[in-house]
Subunit: 208 residues, 2 copies
DNA sequence: GTTGGTGGTAATCGAATGATTACAAATGGC
DNA sequence: GCCATTTGTAATCATTCGATTACCACCAAC
């Protein structure tokens, strides 16, 4: 007897499926953290079976590392695009122009819900013997880009990274949930997201 | 027959024991995160049995909330002390004096290994229906202190919080582990911890 | 001395989870 | 058409973990 529902006949190339699973994993890891995320939750979010996601990456740990690599690569690509934008505006862009261009692209990254949160989750795993070194390498890549490619001074890079950590933290906290109820929260978010607030608030209502 | 090792005869008041367990839980939650921490690991770190820590707080979730409350209370106390220090130096302290005094006490907090990391872990749990609201309230308490008591402008409070998030992230990453090997890391840490670097590096070598 | 409350532990349970195995259905080259 | 490869799933396993239960030991009051 057949125990499974009849196949719909549609099969994907594993390459495409892998991207789907990676996107789902990014969302799940971002929301629940490395330890809190389950391979089953990722599987359900991607619409595949749990053993499939395990075999696709070998282990949950390897899957997280893949998510991390993709996340930092996409962030770097976003920064590089921002750098080109700002050099297009003026030959030797000042710090403010660069900041504005990067901030613009950075908030765009928030659309990929979980990407920045997955990075942030990795940054809290420095004690992990496998993930820790990879996470430190990610931070290093970003810092070296800011110094070597974007031409920032150490102090400028520090300020830029600090603001980024703050943004990520506020997103992790879901601080926007209290925007209407708490005047202090409104004031803080108005300060931190001067131009991108409508976009941030629109993110809040999306699924999950 | 007796299955247990003979009691050493030393018994503690549950109040004192509770503090010991809270300190142990702070370390464990800080290192492994909420989901990654186990009640058994907390029990072993505190030198008691696992059922005891569960009964003491009712649940792992309640224990985390207790850790969170203690952490934010101690941080606020540290900030209040710093505020008094700076007003002792000059009647109406400028921003730099206040920053310096707070930074001094803040780095002291790092001695309580895990306190800031536990806070940071909570900040990544905004999606949790129970912990999320509590974590947002913690952030709000800190922001309102900076605005109302420390007299910071929204922009000043934003900058201060951003730097704090950056410090916490670098500690979570264990970035100091790469201080000697990676020149970029050395440069970054020299910039972020201008005066407190020896202290930071000494923390690195402590147990766990 | 015994009694009752406080400070603990050993043993165990049920559920969740990451991983493995065995198997089935679709696809493509020949 | 046939067969090997690829794309998937159902079933299950061994651990782990939070929680519960039942029990024991110390101590103070009377």
């Amino acid at each position: 007897m057949t125990t499974t529902a009849p196949d719909t006949g549609t099969r994907m190339r594993s390459e495409d499926r892998r991207v789907l699973v990676l996107e789902a994993a990014t969302r799940v890891f971002g929301e629940r953290g490395y330890h809190g995320a389950t391979t089953d939750a990722v599987a359900k979010a991607a619409g595949v079976s749990q053993p499939y996601v395990v075999r696709m990456f070998g282990s949950k740990e390897a899957m997280f590392l893949a998510v991390l690599e993709r996340a930092v690569s996409r962030m770097m690509a976003s920064f590089r695009a921002a750098l080109e934008e700002s050099t297009a505006e003026s030959e030797t862009p000042d710090a403010e122009t660069l900041h504005r261009c990067i901030a613009h692209n950075y908030v765009e990254l928030l659309s990929d819900r979980g990407l920045l949160l997955s990075l942030m989750q990795a940054f809290m795993l420095g004690a992990d013997p496998v993930i820790g070194p990879e996470a430190r390498a990610c931070m290093r890549r970003v810092y070296e880009f800011l110094r070597d490619d974007a031409g920032m001074s150490p102090a400028e890079a520090h300020g830029f990274l600090s603001t980024g950590m703050m943004l990520n933290t506020l997103v992790g906290l879901r601080m926007a949930d209290d925007y209407e109820k708490e005047p202090a929260v409104r004031e803080l978010l108005d300060e931190v997201f001067p131009t991108k607030l409508p976009f941030l608030l629109s993110l809040r209502d999306r699924q999950s």
